[in-house]
């Protein structure tokens, strides 16, 4: 805790505040119960039927979730002094890695490892990255391949047949954090530093058989890392991670460090495998979503949804696409062109998204549409709206409608 924090903590300590009032609590309870939605008492059959009808008419979920959440499941606590400071790319990168291929095999998901290929410039800054993120990491998106270069990330979601291009600095920072902590040449050295500071206890097992690796076990208060060091090259080739749970160190994951400083084919850092019919959404060449201006988060979320449907009513598919992660007009037309949108019946009330990780809001909306010659109401209860990835102050519908 720093000095400012301590000061505030001491300042606010003991400041008296009004206690909750029983009268208000009981009165509000009455009001709430009087207003309790009656339709909730019965299943919402009407909505379900409408939804089924719509689905038959091929309005399918659109998939354009562009947020890159690369959860590298490593525990960096041991190395906190070395890696916790700002990892901005402008800071000289203190590691020896020019090329590396890292495979992370997580307990329970042995069949689907995460994989990372990294190329650095001579000064240690990140040049190219390729990541394979398995489907279990984000089931909604499915497996993802991410290729990163010059602050631009291309995210290929095979299941959704979508390629999203976004501005991104986080990938480079995450990769720097990874190689700084687990640099095959410097990792053991860092560990000794931690031992000198009393943070871990190190045990070394050096087999007389030179073909077997040296095993360095570092045990801290809540976790244990076991490093395997090649006796000939003195490079760390693998690390096993354990966490203290229920009184014993339980295995979490294995990190394999391969191809240390062996040049990686440039093709690895391209996305040649994306099929020509993939939906391509490039957020780096267009302004995605709606500018927030002076609107509150809830107001702008409702406005995005309103404008999206207004655009569909007007047949402005480019405009609608801009509000749906920047999806191309022809894609929007293909999805929605066969439906006649007549009018917006209601938008809101806006609420928080049920999945906080999305950092979004939910905007219910009811529109009137004509399908199969019939006019029906289409209730959409979970339209997600959030800030555009790396475009603060602009808001978009995400994850389909």
């Amino acid at each position: 805790m720093n000095d400012n924090e301590k000061y505030i903590e001491e300042f606010v300590n003991d400041i008296p505040f009004d206690a909750p009032d029983d009268e208000h609590r009981d009165e509000l309870k009455k009001q709430l119960l009087n207003a309790f939605p009656k339709h909730r008492l019965q299943p919402t059959i009407h909505t379900v039927n409408v939804w089924r009808k719509i689905m038959k008419n091929s309005i399918t979920r659109i998939a354009a979730a562009a947020v890159i959440i690369v959860a590298i499941g490593l525990l960096l606590n041991f190395w906190s002094d070395s890696v916790a400071y700002a990892l901005d790319q402008t800071i000289e990168a203190n590691h020896s890695v020019r090329y590396i291929h890292i495979k992370e095999i997580t307990a329970g998901h042995e069949d689907e490892p995460k994989e990372f290929w990294l190329e650095s410039y001579e000064d240690g800054q990140v040049k190219n990255v390729r990541m394979h993120m398995p489907s279990w990491d984000a089931p909604e998106d499915g497996a993802k391949v991410i290729v990163w270069k010059e602050n631009t990330a291309q995210v290929w979601m095979k299941k959704k047949n979508v390629l999203v291009t976004v501005m991104d600095k986080a990938v480079a920072d995450q990769m720097l954090k990874l190689v700084k902590a687990y640099d095959p040449r410097l990792a053991v050295e860092r560990l000794y530093k931690q031992e000198a500071e009393g943070k871990v206890k190190i045990e070394i097992e050096e087999p007389s058989d030179k073909s077997r690796p040296i095993v360095v076990t570092a045990t801290g208060p809540s976790r244990r890392d076991v490093l395997f060091v090649d006796q000939a090259t003195k490079l760390v080739t693998a690390i096993k991670f354990y966490q203290l749970k229920d009184g014993e160190y339980q295995y979490q994951s294995l990190l394999e460090l391969n191809g240390y400083n062996q040049p990686i084919d440039a093709k690895v850092f391209t996305l040649d495998e994306v099929p020509t019919d993939a939906i391509r959404i490039d957020q780096t060449t267009q302004e995605v979503g709606l500018e927030q201006g002076n609107l509150t988060d809830e107001e702008v979320a409702a406005e995005v949804v309103r404008k999206f449907f207004e655009a569909l009513i007007a047949g402005n598919y480019a405009g609608a696409g801009q509000l749906l992660e920047g999806a191309p007009a022809d894609f929007i037309q293909k999805q929605f062109g066969q439906i006649k949108f007549i009018r917006i019946i209601s938008v809101g009330p806006v609420g928080p998204h049920p999945n906080p990780q999305t950092r979004g809001l939910v905007v219910p909306c009811t529109v009137e549409i004509e399908t199969d010659g019939k006019i029906i109401q289409w209730k959409l209860e979970r339209i997600g709206v959030r800030e555009v990835y790396n475009q603060p102050g602009r808001w978009t519908i995400f994850g389909g409608i």
């Binding site: 505030i8 009004d18 928080p352 049920p354």
Partner: protein, 189 residues
């Protein structure tokens, strides 16, 4: 009080369609929401208004909550944060709040806790300083110092990245201290 997680999960599920279960859930969390609101708004009436707004929103959106029972309080506080921020964003209302503070503080010092003038004085300074910050700074300060949340918990509650919250909190603390110091100096001078 020591209800199990499973019981609470059931209660949340039942509360979507059963008014009695909803009432039970409401009573379990009323104090949490009110206490958060009063620490953001420093005014009983505003805090009660916003608490009402929060629970109406909860009632209408409860069926969309599909997180774990441990996420429920975070979900509530997130709704409360949005409601308080909306309340404060209206600049006219904001000005009223600040005016009310001055009036109410006088009333409090006379009728509520007459024995501790120093604490009340500190409260006035805190109110003025805190309410003059941007709502996002007020939010992280309240969660950190009144809800005693850790950085990761604040991030989870607000649905933000921990590094974003860290820098926001750091800025908020610096700004608040500066304002408190300035106010204290003025008062002293």
């Amino acid at each position: 009080m020591a209800s199990s997680k499973a019981e609470n999960t059931d209660l949340i599920r039942q509360a979507c369609s059963d008014p009695d279960a909803f009432a039970q859930l409401y009573l379990l969390h009323y104090n949490d929401v009110f206490n958060y609101c009063i620490r953001r708004l420093f005014d009983r009436h505003s805090a009660e208004d916003v608490t009402s707004t929060v629970f109406f929103k909860v009632m209408h959106n409860l069926s969309s909550f599909d997180g774990k029972v441990t996420d429920f309080k975070n979900w509530l506080l997130r709704i409360a944060t949005n409601a308080v921020n909306d309340h404060l964003r209206n600049s006219r209302r904001r000005a009223d709040v600040i005016q009310k503070i001055v009036k109410n503080t006088r009333a409090e010092s006379e009728f509520v806790i007459p024995s501790n003038d120093k604490l009340l004085e500190k409260k006035v300074l805190l109110k003025r300083a805190l309410l003059s910050l941007k709502p996002k700074y007020q939010t992280v300060i309240t969660l950190r110092f009144f809800e005693n949340m850790k950085l990761t918990e604040i991030a989870a509650c607000l649905g933000k990245n921990p590094s974003t919250v860290r820098s926001c909190l750091s800025r908020a603390i610096t700004k608040l201290r500066k304002k408190l110091n300035t106010a204290a100096t003025r008062k002293g001078g």
